[in-house]
């Protein structure tokens, strides 16, 4: 019998996503260097860093768009190896993309219904024959998608096509699409980009409301959002984790200040 502590460690309430010593190099250029951190379900984790720090690469590695040269990604105790980007959603990991990535040929609610793919069960044959099973599932998915739009406050745009809608509304539809299947972890790539400060505050409230329901990992360079909403923050610089901790700890860390504002004059000359 394992001791209770060990049992809790296996439990998914502990680290559900583990990035373990991940290194990514393109040619000779090392973009991520032994990056390790973990995201627990129910918490909002932020990955920040100055431009070129490797934030998006972290996102792409977790998504499977980029394969790490070494290191592991572990999801709920299982290593994600050779996973294809589309398989992630079926493992309970949803994503929103940089930009919005809505489907131009589908209405808002249909876009959200695409996000419900991981919970859709209709087979090709039922689809071709239009069996009641297929139609019934369509109705359920539509109702569920409308609820997701409702939660984001954009249900009134359900039947409209995304191209005609304001950018912040499009972003909310994209978030609704990521949430609709009830994922255990949502990865968001720069959710605040292109939003006004008022909209960012609203986004922060949404992220806070997701806490406890699912894990959230945001890759972001908007400090206001990250500081206000994240439980923990991982700071990257030149592909290395230079700090990690609560927002207050990270803010107080001189290495972070240095990475963002540059080294002070004395230390620069001392280093030279």
């Amino acid at each position: 019998m394992p001791p209770p502590e060990a049992k809790r460690a296996v439990n998914r309430s502990a680290a559900s996503l583990e990035v373990d010593a991940v290194t990514v190099s393109f040619g000779g250029l090392s973009v991520l260097d032994e990056v390790s951190f973990s995201a627990s379900s129910g918490e909002v984790l932020g990955v920040i860093g100055p431009n070129g720090a490797g934030k998006t690469t972290v996102f792409n590695v977790v998504c499977g768009f980029v394969r790490p040269s070494s290191g592991r990604i572990v999801w709920r105790g299982r290593e994600l190896r050779h996973q294809r980007p589309y398989q992630l959603a079926h493992l309970g990991i949803a994503r929103t993309l940089q930009g919005v990535g809505l489907i131009a040929g589908l209405s808002a609610v249909e876009n959200v219904m695409v996000g419900a793919e991981p919970i859709a069960r209709t087979g090709v044959l039922s689809g071709l024959l239009g069996l009641p099973r297929s139609a019934g599932e369509e109705r359920r998915l539509r109702a569920r998608s409308l609820e997701a739009l409702e939660r984001l406050g954009v249900a009134e745009f359900a039947e409209q096509h995304p191209r005609a809608l304001p950018y912040p509304v499009q972003k909310k539809i994209a978030i609704a699409r990521a949430l609709v299947a009830g994922p255990e972890l949502v990865l968001m790539d720069e959710p605040a980009s292109g939003l006004s400060s008022g909209e960012i505050a609203e986004l922060g409230r949404l992220l806070t409301s997701l806490r406890g329901e699912m894990g959230v990992l945001i890759v972001e360079h908007n400090m206001d959002l990250v500081m206000a909403t994240c439980d923990r923050i991982v700071v990257l610089d030149f592909g290395k984790v230079i700090a990690a901790g609560t927002p207050a700890e990270v803010q107080a860390n001189p290495a972070v200040t240095e990475a963002y504002l540059g080294a002070s004059v004395e230390s620069e000359s001392a280093g030279a």
Binding site: Y86, L88, A89, G101, A104, L128, L129, L131, S134, H161
Partner: protein
């Protein structure tokens, strides 16, 4: 259902649309009734024309789903028809089976070939995919002469007329069979487009990365679309075999594939109704140009070329005046009429965009 009882007529119709199968079958029955009256009242020659329209419409409808909904192009759709026609024709030649069996065999063989051709399609876009399917169209012309013993070379396979039940003219009987096939095809494709798969195909077409983020396997969807379109063309080929009475390589030239593509573009890519406009154009425009040119010249070489020229001109005119095809133009007009009443139902009409410029969408977002 109990809710529908309280709804006024128009709303009840909407309720029926929530049951795609019931809705599509209702439309199919109405169409069958109308077409029964039409086929019974027109001449036997016109019944032959109706059969021709039906098999064209079937092939174009499948191509329209492939190109309009899933965003892939096939320059070799005639090859899938050839497979269906040869499959059905050989079965009819060698075995005495109810008509439905050879037709289904033709569909099955074409579907399998479609899935096989769809595999490279998962890695190819635009002009490259067009190239592969073009090669297919050319192969369809050459294989029957290469394997002469099986396919009887250039002479081809003789297909006996479908034997009608007593009292029905063979021409009329064939028209009924073809129209039945066409109606079933339209119902199945309409169901498919209304299901999660129609949505998934559009998602993969418009944004590959976003579709993957939502858990869709784009390659699986592309292969599925190819298999479906090919199977549809297989049915078209089987009906063609019955219609023409002979299956030989000349029937499935590259020109047929191009014609199907032209019919789809004229009717409106992605629209099942548009497939009928396309089929009508493919059948009647040559007839009309023939009768016009025969007034001026009796040299057949000239008439044939003028026909091609007029057809090309028609495509250019349609693409300039109505980039979304006849059906896109008509439904656009309907929407313009309704615009005053409700703005929310407007949806942008997507012009045919085959993404000929880029070969892949992935690398842009994977940069470090």
């Amino acid at each position: 259902m109990s809710r529908a009882d309280r709804l006024p007529g128009a709303e009840r119709l909407k309720g029926l649309q929530g049951q795609p199968l019931a809705w599509h079958i209702a439309l199919g029955i109405v169409a069958a009734a109308v077409l029964y009256l039409v086929t019974s009242s027109v001449s036997l020659y016109d019944n032959t024309i109706i059969s021709e329209i039906a098999w064209y419409a079937i092939a174009i409808a499948g191509l329209s789903v492939l190109t309009g909904v899933s965003g892939q192009i096939s320059l070799g759709h005639g090859a899938f028809m050839a497979v269906g026609a040869y499959g059905a024709g050989l079965m009819m030649e060698h075995f005495r089976l109810p008509l439905i069996v050879p037709i289904l065999v033709g569909i099955a063989v074409a579907t399998v070939l479609g899935a096989v051709v769809g595999l490279p399609a998962t890695r190819l876009r635009g002009p490259y995919l067009a190239g592969v399917t073009l090669a297919l169209a050319l192969a369809a012309q050459d294989l029957p002469t290469k394997f002469s013993s099986l396919f009887n070379g250039d002479t081809g396979i003789i297909v006996n007329q479908a034997t009608p039940p007593g009292g029905v003219n063979p021409e009329r009987w064939l028209a009924w069979i073809s129209l039945f096939g066409a109606i079933v095809t339209m119902i199945v494709l309409a169901n498919f487009m209304k299901s999660r798969y129609g949505r998934a195909l559009k998602a993969v077409r418009d944004d590959d990365i976003a579709a993957q983020a939502s858990g869709l396997n784009p390659n699986r969807m592309r292969v599925l679309a190819f298999a479906l379109a090919a199977g549809t063309a297989g049915l078209s080929g089987g009906l063609f075999a019955l219609w023409s009475g002979i299956v030989n390589p000349n029937s499935f030239s590259l020109f047929l594939s191009i014609q199907l593509l032209a019919g789809m573009v004229i009717g409106g890519a992605g629209s099942l109704v548009g497939a009928w406009w396309g089929a009508l154009a493919l059948v009647y425009v040559p007839q009309w140009t023939n009768s016009v040119t025969s007034h001026f010249s009796s040299v057949s070489a000239i008439t044939a070329n003028v026909q091609g020229a007029i057809f090309g001109l028609l495509i250019i005119v349609v693409m300039m005046a109505a980039p979304t095809g006849i059906q896109g133009w008509l439904s656009g007009g309907y929407r313009r009429l309704r615009r005053g009443r409700s703005r929310t139902e407007l949806e942008p009409v997507l012009p045919l965009d085959l993404d000929l410029s880029s070969t892949s969408t992935a690398p842009e977002r994977t940069r470090p």
